[in-house]
């Protein structure tokens, strides 16, 4: 899978994933897993920080966000913001609670296995509609 994601991509053409998670230990582990897939990872500790990054115009191909977070918005609020402001940007939500009814590109229930998240991320980033983003 790592080779799959890395193949055909120049160093400058790496995909960027924005990880939004307030638990630093979970965020660190997930960010390392995604960097091992040759992805650039932006780490945000809550939705406000994620919106600051997205608002700066920084590159982003996928958002992976926890649902329960401190700050002005939780993960569901962030998903709605992303849908409104960046309708082409896919989002995966993760939570220890049941799946939300909101329309998102993927949902994983915590605790998830490493393979589950990496396979879902790889599958979304290889979608034909996102190949040239």
């Amino acid at each position: 899978m790592q080779a799959l994601l890395a193949s055909g991509q120049e160093a400058s053409g790496k995909k960027t994933v924005l990880v939004v998670e307030d638990d630093v230990l979970l965020r660190y582990v997930l960010a390392e897993q995604l960097r091992d897939m040759c992805l650039i990872v932006v780490e945000a500790e809550h939705a406000d920080s994620a919106i600051t990054y997205l608002g700066s115009g920084g590159p982003c191909d996928l958002v992976v966000s926890d649902i329960q977070m401190p700050g002005s918005l939780d993960g569901l609020g962030l998903a709605r913001y992303v849908r409104d402001a960046f309708p082409q940007l896919p989002i995966i939500l993760v939570s220890g609670q049941a799946a939300p009814s909101d329309d998102v590109d993927g949902f994983l229930r915590k605790p998830y296995a490493e393979d589950e998240i990496t396979m879902l991320v790889a599958a979304i980033l290889q979608r034909p509609d996102l190949e040239n983003t």
Binding site: D48, S49, I51, G55, S56
Partner: protein, 141 residues
């Protein structure tokens, strides 16, 4: 000959745009970089993850219940081999990153640290124009 594992730098900064740019620059210099958005996150990582960074680059105004100077004292007592470097201004942070890069595993800087500064200034200005605060939220669970 076996390859040496990359030295770890822990970057502690509450501003996502600054933290990310500095961290990416140091990664391009060959370091393994771990990020913390507050002093509390940094201490939690050090206490529980088993990480032993060679360097900790900490914003002097990093948010958290511990102030940055108290964090440095605690690390000095618990992990005396960790070189804690404090930086206040954006220029100072970029300069520290450039110095670390010179000491780093790769022989050459990947690019001029002035580019890091310019990029941070550009993206923070873009955020300001779009009315988005670059200040970390003080809300906590």
């Amino acid at each position: 000959m076996t390859e040496q594992p990359a030295q770890i730098v822990l970057v502690v900064d509450g501003e996502v745009l600054i933290r990310h740019e500095i961290a990416e620059y140091l990664r391009d210099c060959g370091y393994r970089v771990v990020e913390a958005a507050s002093t509390d996150e940094a201490w939690l990582l050090l206490e529980t993850s088993g990480l032993v960074p060679a360097f900790l680059l900490c914003s002097a105004v990093a948010p958290g219940n511990l102030n940055a100077f108290t964090l440095r004292q605690k690390i000095g007592a618990a992990l005396p081999d960790v070189d804690v470097i404090m930086a206040g201004s954006l220029d100072a942070k970029a300069e520290v990153a450039a110095d670390l890069c010179e000491q780093g595993p790769d022989l050459a800087r990947p690019y001029d640290p002035q580019l890091v500064l310019d990029r941070i200034r550009r993206v923070t200005a873009t955020s300001a124009r779009s009315g988005i605060s670059t200040k970390p939220s003080s809300d906590k669970k």
